[in-house]
Symmetry: C2
Subunit: 476 residues, 2 copies
Amino acid sequence: MRNASPALDPDLIDRFAAIVGARYALTDPAAIAPYLEEKRGLWHGRTALVLRPGSVEEVSRVMRLASETGTPVVPQSGNTGLVGAQVPDASGRAIVLSLSRLNRIREIDTLSNTVTVEAGVILQTLQEAADAADRLFPLSLAAQGSCQLGGNLSSNAGGTGVLAYGNARELCLGVEVVLPTGEVFDDLRKLKKDNTGYDLKNLFVGAEGTLGVITAAVMKLFPKPKGREVAFAGLNSPEAALALFSLAMDSVGTALTAFELIGARPYDFTLRHAAGVTRPLAQDWPWYVLMQVSSGRSAEDARGLIEDVLGAGLERDIVGDAVIAASLAQQEAFWNFREVLPDAQKPEGASIKHDISVPIASIPAFIEEAERAVQGVSPGARVVCFGHMGDGNLHYNISRPENGEDAAFLDLYKPMNKAVHDVVRAFDGSISAEHGIGQLKRDELIATAPPMAIDLMRRVKAAFDPAGVMNPGRVI
Amino acid sequence: MRNASPALDPDLIDRFAAIVGARYALTDPAAIAPYLEEKRGLWHGRTALVLRPGSVEEVSRVMRLASETGTPVVPQSGNTGLVGAQVPDASGRAIVLSLSRLNRIREIDTLSNTVTVEAGVILQTLQEAADAADRLFPLSLAAQGSCQLGGNLSSNAGGTGVLAYGNARELCLGVEVVLPTGEVFDDLRKLKKDNTGYDLKNLFVGAEGTLGVITAAVMKLFPKPKGREVAFAGLNSPEAALALFSLAMDSVGTALTAFELIGARPYDFTLRHAAGVTRPLAQDWPWYVLMQVSSGRSAEDARGLIEDVLGAGLERDIVGDAVIAASLAQQEAFWNFREVLPDAQKPEGASIKHDISVPIASIPAFIEEAERAVQGVSPGARVVCFGHMGDGNLHYNISRPENGEDAAFLDLYKPMNKAVHDVVRAFDGSISAEHGIGQLKRDELIATAPPMAIDLMRRVKAAFDPAGVMNPGRVI
């Protein structure tokens, strides 16, 4: 519940500040500002205090004091979340708990293939540390240069590596969590198999900081691929993309490490608006696929595999045209093309975005029905569809009609969401495949999820955070 | 809490029986007997009533009545569990709820690579149905001819396929659960990505029927391997086995689909006692590895991979000797050798068993220290060590000294458990890697797990089953 109560009591601020030391207790509005702004600018929160603890012990003491005083705490790591889970509300009552100083990689175990890492470690730093140890840490997403592992786990981050390696949850073997009361739940184990009671770890992963503060985790590492090939293919339909995906899965299996679908519209927007981008294929197609194959054996092997898949696809008329990147630079250019898609949509005016998943087999039918639903809400609206097709996950974004007005289109935000999500639900899909619930989708989740699921989640929340201090108003 | 209260009230029996029909409400002691006996004969439970509902609706009505009347319910599927979770206690107060009539495979979706299956489907039936649809369902374990999927999920079953494909939890995308109150939690989704709130699914998986009754699930399917090779290798030490595992992971990665460690003693016991078993290797070795490589490409490819691994192992003196199975029949003979190991131990007299896991890198040190601990409790006791080394999971069994007495050895059950599990805990391992807690390890779990973990589990139990009717006295 938001209210207009006065900011935090100055004495309380002093008590919190004493735990982390004055230097790491930010009260100056200019110093605090970056912790309040999130990327999309949707929420404008307030706080009187940002705490930057330097140890698990300090996190524990902060939470103990918060519980004792009923002070809401909003945990934050890299502040790149897209659903407002990591920023405080406008009441000014909550404090922000930044995990960014917990930034040690505690251990890399190349025999057990694990890394023990703190919540404030930047994802890219972790990737690089694994690489230096001749291992792969496969979690990979657009924000990797600034997002941090604590947030990756709390949001169960997805990204482009999920197809072969799983999401953040599947990469996590153990967690260290500070509970709302300040007690430390140490479950930092490296075990692939452990059937000793309820799966508590997976409750904290994906809970968006509402059940406790993840301070560290044991994550899986993998052998580094010895060869990697990236191709761009042009196709006539989502059905053809699905057929190509099936073909690729059947012939190369886990060597298929990315399968991204791109509609003609985001493709065109990118050619039109993104700087330094070149056309991957000579001819235009209604749909495109960016495919990556990795081999644990050799570069030649990866080449052979991707050639086999595309050759069979061309032969069976599934694929219209295809180009395999001829160099590392061209591979990067193909990936860059995929990564700039969201930004390339901006110059086309206001947009309404959806992060959805449906069963893979339903993707073609979903795309057809969702287009109809979109046109029903806003005739002429332009569907910008792309995403991780191999995971059933589409970023189903809608740009306003070409000559429409931004404000008028954004007034349709709620009916558009509802129209698209109704189609998602009709296919037993998810209205948040990878970004989470946060503030953005909380009301919709509560209104549309099976009441039983909401009831069970509320029981979990009450059992873990009876005082309600842990990121209140998020998720549930 | 067990008590000697009278058996169930006859009126209550009638009310339960009316839900499923007289034919499926067993009250005759002879008909009930098979539901009370578990494989190891460790527990001798009682019940006045076994219910065999034929639909989710009937399960729901049974649980509603159980909640209303405070009647404890013990869910049971294939009754192959090894920790006593699926049999009632001696009080006679609990009823047994058999899921075996919920035995439909509801749907196989070969595009989404999922199968929707009810709790009473026998694992081998599910494997065969997947095979008929040209897909692999990779969960595989000794009891597969009689165990059922509900129990596989409730115990988060492991087995020989975990290394490449994960355990039951990792294979499960969605569940349908009847809660203690009779409400149905329908979360039968086929989604690889879904970040809409807390991970409830993974609470029910592995909860051994203490939070609800799993009635159906969506499970992952995989492309069928096109080639498979199985080899037996002789090695000088667990260190060498670890080096071979690292080598295999680095060179074939996910194509490594089994890596089983076998000590000389279980190897010898098998040669001595198992019928129709032939010696896999000409010479004796201190340790053996059963390794399987699967290729999604071709039989020749699998052959090339396993030859590469073993060739490199021989060249680097990691492997002493190795034989690749020359035929499907020999592959089956190698696997049979592995599968009869537990039974081949029986003629050697009483044994005390442990189902443990440690970080893979710690396996050699664990084996060394655990042997010392065992000798400290029972000088001359014979360690019978084998298991899923690639998962860090060993079945660390101890046979009595060669000329010892069974009874005297079994008197050491508790100190032996403690000695071995203390070593497990020193390596941050698990005292139940795949069999679960049930009745067998409940007291030890509560006594030795971090109090915080026990406290959190109790909060979950109280939140989901406040009346305490759901398989009470198990796990927590």
